[in-house]
């Protein structure tokens, strides 16, 4: 039988992975950049909450939005310092990807420096930060699960409203779909790219800041999670924010429930293979549905299913 606490954790984890995956997709859709630095941004999200809480007190949850904004600004900084030039030059996908790896290494180094500083100067136990102790329950449900779910739902709704109802949102969609058209319509594509880097970065930080309330953070946790985030984004089809939210959610959930199921079937030794699940999910998704969830022709699937049954 599956315990409720496991279900809560699984839901919170999957929602946060969904946020991070949406961030990857956001940046990829607008600038064709596969962002490796997402890994360290997630870790930074965690450490922002931890550091601010230790320095300024209060309840750690109040620093979640701060963390999101700051990681969003890291995204902006990445766009302004190098991504913009690479896009202007028309650099290939691989160069774009590699440059973000460079940024990831820098962010990782800085984060480790912060962790060293916190432990050496402030004597904090900074290499394993655990904020779960500050989590609380609302109506029997952990707040970490509630808030993550609420954010995913509101995000889905607000992205939809933003992209269809606001002027800038429509402009943004136009630019992403056709940059040349955007120029004709009088939209500044750079502003659009900048915004998506900000939102993408903020989503990474938000995911990280919320994740630290369900799992312990350490400086390289982002590198540990990045494959899961990529998996979510790719399963989602890379060209749809909703797809990535759904994909991230499914991959996160499959990691939890899949490993639960495997360990029930084959014993507790399977648990060490946990990380393999999102990887396999992604490879399978890519090889069989190269277009991701967003690209599957559901009508056809339904036909096949019906055909098999008859």
């Amino acid at each position: 039988m599956i315990e409720p606490s496991l279900v809560y954790k699984a839901l919170a984890y999957s929602s946060n992975i969904a946020l991070m995956a949406a961030g990857i997709t956001m940046i990829y859709m607008s600038t064709e950049t596969f962002n490796f630095a997402h890994a360290s941004k997630v870790s930074w999200g965690m450490y922002f909450v931890y550091t601010f809480y230790n320095f300024f007190g209060g309840h750690p949850y109040i620093y979640v939005p701060v963390a999101a904004i700051l990681t969003g600004l890291i995204g902006v900084a990445m766009y302004l310092t190098f991504n913009r030039y690479l896009l202007k030059r028309g650099a290939g996908m691989i160069t774009l990807m590699m440059s973000t790896l460079g940024a990831d290494l820098i962010l990782l180094a800085l984060l480790n420096i912060l962790a060293d500083y916190l432990s050496r100067v402030h004597k904090l136990y900074s290499r394993q930060i655990r904020m779960e102790i500050y989590d609380f329950t609302v109506a029997g449900i952990p707040f970490s699960t509630l808030i993550a779910l609420i954010i995913v739902v509101t995000l889905t709704a607000s992205i939809h409203l933003f992209l269809t109802k606001t002027k800038f949102g429509i402009a943004m969609r136009a630019t992403i779909e056709n940059p040349n058209l955007a120029g004709i319509l009088g939209i500044n594509p750079e502003l659009v790219y900048l915004t998506s880097w900000f939102i993408g970065g903020a989503l990474a930080g938000l995911g990280g800041a919320l994740l630290v309330f369900i799992m312990a953070g350490y400086p390289v946790i982002g590198q540990y999670l990045i494959v899961t985030m990529f998996a979510g984004s790719i399963v989602g089809g890379l060209y749809s924010i909703y797809g990535s939210l759904l994909g991230g959610f499914l991959v996160g959930l499959s990691e939890y429930l899949g490993i639960w199921w495997l360990s029930t079937l084959f014993g507790g030794k399977m648990l060490a293979y946990r990380q393999v699940i999102p990887l396999v999910a992604m490879v399978v998704a890519l090889l069989f549905f190269p277009q991701g969830l967003g690209g599957i022709k559901w009508g056809k699937v339904a036909k096949v299913v019906r055909g098999e049954r008859s």
């Binding site: 190098f82 650099a91 290939g92 050496r120 490879v283």
Partner: protein, 360 residues
């Protein structure tokens, strides 16, 4: 005053690091720089090679010794047996037999190349179907999955405990390190020459044509599927050899030593620094990185008292900054690719001269 002995040890270290990294980076360059395959899973072939050296050679040797034959199956990689078993193999079989040792070395490299090639061939399945970034992420996932399995399933290479690797350099004691170094340099040199020959052949030219313009290459008779597959097989075979060699020289094989950072991203950085598509550039890039890394590790002790953090973090920072600066300001690398002719340029000129005279 410079202590010559220490400098010698340091240079020895730099050179062997250089040789192994160069083989890996050359193979990466062949796949990415020449054949334009988004190889973000270089570690896959490297680790396969390492597991061949760690898991297969020793078993073969154990099988040949009647008293040890019972351990040549799954038990071989049990660490309680393995460490002593390999020690026995080293002492009784390899220590006094230079010829056998070299034979084992060559056999291991050959096996690694063959199995690495097979792995390359298997990865061609997604490589033909997926585009750039998708392919990159898929190959990255393959590398991680194989590492995770080897790390948890002990009949391969003893899972987390790892295995000892038969030492093919022991006969040269006390100069075994020198032996390992010289062979590594020879191997790196041969790899360099081999890839240069490929690049300067109609085959290499066809790969470059595919890289430059896939549709035109198809129309001009290039079978893209085959070319990609060949490039993956050749590249992976060499990367596997490098992995096997590294494992033999370290003397121990542990699944989790083969991380994507060390064996995929680092070679990428070397390649970007030196110049994608250019083998000479690769050699320069690897050399600079290896030297700079060594300097950072060595000077860090001088910096330690002045900063409230471990100066070791300057190393990833340095690599990160280099990658970004290169991709913005010098995407072609320090030594950009130059046209590589199949026939020596002088010979082409003389043929041309004759033709021009005939025409006029």
């Amino acid at each position: 005053m410079i202590e010559l002995g220490q400098l010698y040890i340091l240079i020895r270290y730099i050179l062997i690091d250089f040789a192994i990294s160069m083989i890996v980076t050359l193979s990466l360059n062949f796949e990415l720089g020449i054949a334009a395959i988004a190889q973000f899973g270089r570690v896959l072939a490297v680790e396969i090679g390492a597991y061949v050296a760690g898991g297969l050679t020793g078993r073969i040797l154990a099988y040949t010794i009647p008293e040890l034959r019972q351990y040549s199956g799954a038990e071989y990689s049990n660490h309680l047996i393995n460490f002593k078993l390999v020690d026995t193999i080293n002492r009784t079989l390899l220590e006094h037999n230079a010829l056998l040792s070299i034979g084992i070395l060559i056999l291991t490299l050959a096996l690694a190349a063959i199995i690495g090639g097979i792995v390359g061939w298997l990865t061609s399945y997604p490589a033909i179907r997926l585009k750039e970034a998708y392919l990159g992420i898929t190959l990255l996932a393959f590398g991680d999955v194989v590492m995770l399995i080897a790390q948890n399933y002990d009949p391969i290479v003893g899972a987390t405990q790892g295995v000892s690797v038969p030492d093919p350099f022991r006969w040269a004691r006390p100069y075994s390190f020198e032996a390992a170094l010289i062979i590594a340099l020879i191997l790196a040199g041969l790899t360099f020459i081999f890839f240069e020959m490929l690049v300067r052949s109609p085959f290499g030219r066809a790969l470059k044509a595919m890289r430059d313009d896939e549709v035109a290459a198809k129309v001009y008779g290039k079978d893209i599927v085959k070319l990609r597959t060949y490039a993956l097989i050749i590249g992976s075979a060499f990367a596997a050899m490098a992995g096997a060699y590294y494992t033999m020289y370290i003397g121990s094989c542990k699944a989790f030593t083969y991380t994507r950072l060390t064996w995929t991203f680092w070679p990428w950085a070397f390649m970007m620094l030196g110049g994608t598509g250019n083998n000479v550039g690769i050699a320069v890039g690897v050399l600079i990185f290896v030297i700079v890394r060594t300097i950072i590790i060595n000077y860090k002790t001088y910096l330690e008292p002045f900063v409230p953090f471990d100066p070791i973090w300057l190393e990833p920072m340095f690599v990160g900054v280099v990658i970004i600066l290169l991709s913005v300001f010098r995407p072609q690398g320090l030594i950009p690719e130059k046209p590589a002719f199949t026939i020596k340029k002088r010979r082409i000129r003389s043929i041309i001269e004759i033709m021009r005279k005939q025409a006029s």
